[in-house]
Amino acid sequence: MSWGYLLRRLAQLVPTSALILLVGFALIHLAPGDPVLALAGEHGDAEYYDFMRAKFGLDQPLHEQLFTFVANMAHGDLGTSYVQGRPASQIILERLPATLLLTATALTIASILGLGFGIFTATRRRAWQDTTATTVLLATYAAPVFLIGQALILLFALGAGWFPVQGMTSAVTPSNSFGHAVDVAHHLVLPALVLAAPEVAVIGRLTRVGLLQELGSDHVRTARAKGSPPSIVVAKHALRGAVMPVVTVIGNRVAHLASGAVVVEVVFGWPGMGRLLVDALRDQDSPIILGIFLLVSLTVMTANLLTDLVYVWLDPRVLFS
């Protein structure tokens, strides 16, 4: 990978980060009422308001305020949650692992099922299996996350009783860490499947299109002519090229995953960052709301960068097109 390209992409992060911070700053100042209310909540006492006003320099000119705001954010100082009275960044970080576990599991499930669906449909083109699977994927892509979640709860939790309805752990704490892991995994199945569902549709569809293109290409025809069995042709010759666009789309779906996680965490009572955000919205706990917005924005930005770099690394030709 050329250093010039890497530097150019890194330089692009500057205006994007600036925009993200500026949006956060502008929202606080454009919101109706005193910005200190947005930063400190409406239920603080006069002393706390004075403290926050001085901390974010709200008595200073606007450009100085922006500078202080950016400096505070750069230090990871989001202010103090007025509901819990602790640093907002600390509260957010506590909730992060549960969300990461949920999204990472969902992404893994989505990649495996998506590739599976793609290979299954592309190798049975225009057969009834292809039509059925493609229709199911289309409906999955169109379904709101909560509908899939509620349907699975109704069928497999309330109905069959195979999985718990809510939460991340059982009320009875397992004695050892292995039991704990099994318990969490048991709670994780349904929410992870629901979060994965739209991504399965996207990855499956892309794999199918890519695979169909590859199966019609010259090098695949050559492999067939040489007598390679069909499974080898798909696995060794066609899938490689077909997976390329899938890699990019996974990186670009991070924003979708994060917003889907908020809804899934509410549906399943999963104690992650999304639930924290919804609670903070109800309580008007601004440091937490702003903190999660900034964290998600920066994560999406980084994921986009990494995706582009991986893409260039896999296929250096894109640099020259």
Partner: protein, 289 residues
């Protein structure tokens, strides 16, 4: 086969159909027909909600938690309100949101895309850097923050989603404009002394139509899902019925009254499916990411 000079002169279907004809031809395929029908149904239900709904969606109209019956085809909720009426008015709210956002996205995306691609130069650089930066902003979370600071409401939702949903449209329109700009028929119009406005409106625009149509369908489908999710989290306009909010109310009664959550959710699925099918069949299916 014998050589016959007449064969090439015979008037037949023009080899290249106009973009409008291409859209119409694709729309008459089964997927296109289904998509167009579902989308039209959403528009009609939304527009005619006051005439179609059996009752006021907030009025107590029957027994509490009644399953679907002849008088209440989608059942009633815990307060005895008709779910069908709620779904119909919810579709109206969705339609209003999607139309507002769609209009903003259309105006901003097309303008930025064409100006950037046709004018080029420093203006293109500035517009595209801005577009790229904006594309990274997570719209759903931005909408959440706006609702947190400004309070829930359809108007601010339309503004925040409209102002942030256009980058994809602008980028695709720009790249299409760039490649079309160098084509012979545009060069020909330019040599004939056509004004920039005339070239854009009469030569460029018709060729952008299929792409724009497809992207608008996909983008509005996404907006519909975002609006539904916000409603589900209880952040929709308190003065309007929202399908997402109805589904979230149903969650509490999932064990005893599946219809409360199922019908609003299915209504969203059908509307989003319609827009996606319409978009897919009308244009270039490879555009979808």
């Amino acid at each position: 086969m014998s050589f016959s000079p007449d064969a090439s002169l015979k008037p037949s279907e023009p080899a290249v159909a106009t973009p409008g004809q291409q859209i119409m031809r694709r729309l008459t395929r089964p997927a296109g027909v289904i998509g167009a029908t579902l989308t039209l149904a959403l528009i009609c239900v939304g527009l005619l909600a006051p005439f179609l709904a059996p009752t006021d969606p907030r009025a107590i109209d029957g027994p509490s938690l009644s399953p679907p019956t002849a008088s209440h085809p989608m059942g009633t909720d815990a307060l005895g309100r008709d779910v069908l009426s709620g779904v119909i008015y919810g579709a109206r709210t969705s339609l209003i949101t999607v139309s507002g956002v769609g209009l903003l996205v259309f105006l901003i995306g097309i303008t930025v895309g064409i100006v950037s691609g046709y004018r080029g130069g420093w203006l293109d650089d500035v517009l595209m850097r801005g577009t790229e930066a904006l594309q990274v902003l997570p719209r759903f979370f931005l909408a959440l923050v706006v609702v947190a600071y400004f309070g829930p409401g359809t108007d601010r939702l339309v503004i925040v989603l409209g102002l942030t949903s256009w980058p994809l449209l602008a980028r695709v329109v720009r790249s299409q404009t760039l490649s079309l700009r160098r084509r012979d028929f545009i060069e020909a119009a330019r040599t004939q002394g056509a004004s920039g406005y005339r070239i854009v409106v009469h030569e460029l625009w018709p060729n952008l139509l299929p792409t724009v149509f497809t992207l608008m369908g996909l983008l509005t489908a996404q907006v519909l899902l975002i609006e539904a999710s916000l409603g589900f989290l209880g952040l929709s306009d308190p003065d309007a019925v929202s399908l997402g909010y109805l589904a979230s109310e149903g969650q509490r009664f999932l064990r005893v009254a599946w219809w409360l959550a199922a019908f609003p959710g299915l209504a969203i699925l059908v509307a989003v499916l319609g827009l996606n099918l319409l978009a897919d069949s009308a244009g270039d299916a490879t555009l979808r990411a």
